[in-house]
């Protein structure tokens, strides 16, 4: 469910076809830089009603999904 939402946010914000995004897809492949990631994290915080802190570079879609899942699990 988190993965789907992440894909939706990436697709909506960056005009990327959500069907081309997989867990292993790297941010670099999507041509998204660290500022794009920060922007999406802020959007995802609203969607999931959580506060996300980025302590290390988020290099893949899967890492972003795992980060959010771990925060949701500890909520």
């Amino acid at each position: 469910m988190v993965f789907e939402k992440v894909c939706e946010v990436i697709a909506a914000n960056k005009d990327i076809d959500a069907s081309t995004i997989a867990m292993e897809t790297t941010m670099a492949e999507l041509q998204l830089d660290s500022l794009d990631v920060v922007q999406m994290v802020m959007e995802l915080e609203e969607a999931f009603d959580v506060s996300i802190t980025i302590n290390e570079p988020v290099s893949t879609v899967g890492k972003l999904v795992e980060l959010i899942e771990s925060i949701l699990a500890s909520k």
């Binding site: 830089d33 660290s34 500022l35 802020m42 802190t53 980025i54 290390e56």
Partner: protein, 315 residues
């Protein structure tokens, strides 16, 4: 309720910060800026904690005013530098080249005021939420590491995004630029290139002379391919770098290697042909070396004159 002014918040006389320029912004420059009423900033650049400890101690012998340290988040020594700032109780920390949230709780707990450089509204919101005292919205007109947005576009958007003071940086070379930044909603300004040519600045005379000779169109941005673009004066080094960058046969590693040590070569050794002469787009406005005191007082006088004349503009 009237907002506390940036100067009061930081314990400085004028809302003018000096940018953290690697190989340039050392204890001598930072102390001179702070003594002149601004906020001087030592650049921690890629140096280790031992080097920074000495610079902080030196600055304390040169000024009893508030000064800060700029942490380059991509530095391999970022962790130990972050810890040293807590030990040394440095009053103000600015950050650049990344997201500083992983260090912010520790700094804030130690009473340090944290002012990150932000190139986007999302990062501004994130650091504001993490307890930043203010943010520096730096447009791509600046020298050194640059973002995409221009100061004119970025500053008002960041001002709208956060409720903490915003300091404008990038493209501000005199009191007119400072007044314009205040009109965009900024509470203060940060100057890099203008202080680079200060008398007290330790940059090599060849470097300062090259910046003073530069015209409006003499800077360029290289390194976009590497993800950390840099603005510098067009010279043989930057042109060669641009050619290699455009050549797909050249790997990113080779490109990084070609650029390695180039700033030091220019700023310390004075090699302005083969070194990277980082400078902002306002270089063309600068014509002479002045003391930090002269720079700050001139900026403030110009800014006040421009603002006083504003009501005479007929619309």
């Amino acid at each position: 309720m009237a907002q506390t002014s940036l100067s009061t918040l930081l314990g400085i006389r004028y809302p003018i910060l000096q940018g953290g320029m690697a190989w340039i912004a050392d204890a001598t420059l930072a102390a001179a800026v702070s003594n002149a009423g601004g906020l001087g900033i030592i650049s921690a650049m890629n140096a280790d904690a031992a080097w920074l400890r000495k610079e902080i101690a030196k600055a304390r012998t040169l000024t009893d005013k508030t000064f800060g340290v700029n942490v380059m988040l991509m530095s391999p020594f970022a962790e130990e530098v972050a810890q040293l700032l807590i030990e040394e109780k440095v009053p103000v920390v600015t950050t650049g080249a990344g997201n500083p949230t992983r260090f912010m709780a520790g700094w804030i707990e130690a009473g340090i005021k944290v002012i990150p450089v932000v190139p986007s509204t999302a990062l501004a919101k994130m650091v504001a939420r993490s307890g930043a005292t203010a943010v520096i919205a730096e447009g791509g007109e600046s020298g050194g590491h640059v973002g995409d947005l221009s100061t004119m576009a970025l500053v008002p958007q960041v001002v709208d995004a956060v409720s903490i003071p915003v300091i404008a940086a990038g493209g501000i070379g005199d009191g007119r630029g400072m007044a314009a930044a205040l009109m965009l909603g900024a509470s203060g300004v940060q100057l890099g290139t203008r202080f680079l040519v200060a008398e007290e600045c330790p940059a090599h005379d060849n470097y300062k002379d090259r910046v003073l000779r530069a015209k409006d169109i003499d800077t360029m941005v290289t390194g976009r391919r590497l993800g950390h673009p840099v603005r510098s004066i067009k010279n043989p080094f930057s042109r060669d770098f641009a050619s290699l960058e455009a050549d797909n046969a050249v790997s990113n590693d080779e490109l990084e290697k070609f650029g390695g040590g180039a700033l030091r070569k220019a700023a310390v050794d004075g090699d302005i042909e083969r070194g990277c002469v980082m400078a902002g787009q306002i270089s063309g406005m600068l014509t002479k070396v002045q003391t930090c005191q002269e720079i700050i007082e001139e900026m403030m006088a110009e800014c006040r004159a421009v603002l006083a004349n504003a009501e005479k503009i007929s619309l």
